[in-house]
Amino acid sequence: MAVETAAPSTKQVARRRRFFSKQDKVTLGFFIGIPTFLHLSLVWIPAIATIALSFTYWTGIRLEDIVWAGTANYENIFFNTPIFWEAIRVNTIWLLWFFFIATPLGVLLAYQIDREIRGHKIYQSAYFLPVVLSLAVTGIIWNFLLRPDGFVNGLLGLPISEAVSFFGDDRYNIWVIMIMASWRHIGYIMLLYLAGLKAVDSALREAATIDGATEWQSFRKVVFPAMRPVNIIVIVITIIESLRAFDMVYIIYGSSGGLPILGVLVFNNIAGEGASMKGAAYAVILFLLSIVPIITYLQQQFSEDNK
């Protein structure tokens, strides 16, 4: 499924180069320069600065207070902070859940909706609805259902004092959060996959069905492999969304440690009164964990662009 980009012959390149007037060069300079400058100065340079800061002790207030700490923050996190490992456990469960349950469901949903089964227009809207809600609203909505005086506890007939502790009890809270996160994630994946499916040549799929293949076979053997670039995007997004999760948990638990995840640990230690560069170290760890999918994705992009 390559995009035809005929490599220009040197004659053509030379011809094109000659067409760049001075005015053109200036235009190009602005076209590229301004966005790049913004992106570098607000994303990349601060990122590098934070990575550097993670090797220091600092409260984040006065520049002259920065003290070199070497790997002390990292050692502190790895050896001295049990909540870090709990967070890793939660994020791992998040990742596995998204990878094996939520994303596949989103993909299958997209496929069915794309096939235009009955009611697909309504279904598409229904499943996508949670995606347009802000995570704060999502947190409030689910809080409503699962509060001690909410819907589910009301259904179970329990008074506040004996209500099932959906958010506080470790047996339930992670699964509750998984369901909430999936509520949104499935619709999002469905959307991305739908966009990708539209690009798959319909002739391809018709040919497969005419040959007598079932829908499932057609999907597995024809459509899915043809969607390789989209598959990679979806995988990358799945990994990133599960590792970087923050908003939803923050809205329910605030900055407390009720359900530790990496995103909240970063926030806790980098903002607020207890700010320290331990937070920067957490952010770097989060960054490194996310970098695997980033690199994978970039490799794929790179090889595709070189075709």
Partner: protein, 431 residues
């Protein structure tokens, strides 16, 4: 540097003297009215969006504007957002005068050069406050950075009508055995003995504070928070042993409720006692006058006769002036007004109950609940500010909060939690 925290304890005896004397400084207050302040428009940052405190604070700034003609821009932020953002707020574009809390939380920011030294304001209004409040308002360098507004004790709250129905008199509860008996009685009646919450990560610190102070005494508590005693000490273990005894009488979903959830248990008559700070009286009042009148407080029982009931957590809320504000002089002017009896009276005139730190408040106007709060304070000799105000902020929030939460999840893990607390304290970078 940390051992200075212990020097800033509030000697209860001095406050007691103040309370008995009463009515100081009213004459002095009127003298200040003469100063015309041409300090220009001022901005005020409130740390709350709740109904009752907002009415109080608006009363204060309106009175200030009426008196001086200076316009006040009232900026309110929800308290969690405010606290989480304070460091950025103070470094960036803070309001001139803002609401904050006493204790190390204030001293820390003063030491970072983000608060304005207001010792000169204290020179003018200091006679309206007891020495102990001045001490609580002093930074680590000996200068004042804080003006108190109000205080509230942490104690056992209950509803008079409920207790009357059951036939229990909480005033009779003096020691731990009495308390256990009362809790068992409540449980027998199908009620929650002690409503508890810890979803926010800080609520349970109140229980820890009082248990530690009761069992091991004020000095040990202060030393522990200052890092001079160890969390792995047997005495701390003893605290958790007692805490575990309370668990069967609490609601099972402690980690699912924030303080307002546990308050609901008391409000809806599902729980007998609620160990909390008395600020929620305002919420009861918003419910109905009846509910508010039903509310009462007694001190937490004695556990160790050596220490009796000599310590109480009584956090002081108040105001500070931000250095990076655009109008430092205006901020100082406003804070002086707020600390002065005139400002206090403006807040009292709004009708919202407030236990002011100012001696000028006529305590004879206290309602029954406020008198009971005062009694709780009076009985104590030592006052602490609350764990998350008395110790390092990078320890209280990120470490102790989650540690207590994991203890609730598994009370048998006390030893490993204490070891982890100690090692995380040891690993903190030097301040």
């Amino acid at each position: 540097m940390l051992n200075k925290i212990s020097n800033h304890e509030v000697d209860r005896r001095l406050v007691l003297k103040g309370a008995a004397a009463g009515g100081l400084g009213i004459a002095g207050a009127t003298m200040l009215a003469g100063c015309a302040s041409g300090t220009g428009p001022v901005s005020f940052g409130a740390r709350t969006v709740d109904e009752s405190p907002t009415i109080q604070l608006k009363g204060l700034v309106d009175a200030y504007t009426a008196k001086t003609g200076n316009e006040v821009t009232y900026n309110a932020t929800e308290s969690n957002a405010f606290q989480n953002n304070l460091s950025q707020y103070l470094q960036g574009t803070p309001d001139d005068c803002f609401q904050w809390m006493a204790g190390f939380r204030m001293q820390f920011f003063a030491a970072q050069d983000l608060l304005v030294d207001i010792s000169d304001v204290w020179d003018e209004i200091g006679d309206q406050y007891n020495e102990s409040y001045k001490i609580a308002s002093t930074g680590l360098d000996g200068k004042q950075y804080f003006v108190p507004q109000s205080w509230y004790p942490w104690g056992l709250h209950f509803r008079k009508s409920m207790m009357a129905e059951i036939g229990m008199n909480p005033e009779d509860i003096y020691n731990w055995d009495d308390f256990m008996g009362a809790l068992a009685e409540l449980k027998g009646q199908g009620l929650i003995g002690l409503a508890a919450a810890d979803k926010g990560g800080w609520e349970a610190m109140g229980t820890f504070d009082i248990l530690n102070a009761r069992i091991n005494g004020y000095q040990f508590h202060v030393d522990l928070l200052g890092g001079r005693e160890k969390w792995t000490d047997d005495r701390v273990r003893e605290v958790f042993r007692h805490w575990e005894m309370l668990l069967p009488y609490q609601n099972t979903n402690v980690l699912d409720l924030e303080w307002d959830g546990a308050m609901q248990l008391l409000l809806q008559r599902q729980a007998g006692f609620f160990m909390n700070g008395s600020w929620f009286g305002g919420n009861f009042l918003e419910q109905s006058q009846e509910d508010y009148d039903d509310l009462m407080i007694v001190p937490f029982p004695e556990i160790n006769p050596d220490h009796g009931r000599d310590t109480v957590d009584a956090p002081i809320d108040g105001f500070c002036v931000a250095k990076n504000g655009s109008n430092n002089d205006g901020g100082k002017d406003l804070i002086k007004f707020a600390g002065d009896m005139e400002g206090v009276q403006a807040m009292l005139d709004t009708g919202i109950p407030m236990t002011s730190a100012n001696n000028g408040q006529d305590r004879s106007t206290y309602d029954a609940f406020q008198n009971a709060q005062l009694a709780v304070m009076n009985e104590a000799k030592y006052i602490t500010q609350f764990l998350d105000r008395d110790t390092r902020p990078d320890f209280a929030g990120p470490v102790v909060g989650p540690a207590f939460q994991s203890w609730f999840k598994d009370p048998s893990s006390t030893d490993s939690i204490l070891e982890s607390l100690q090692s995380q304290w040891d690993a903190l970078p030097p301040l």
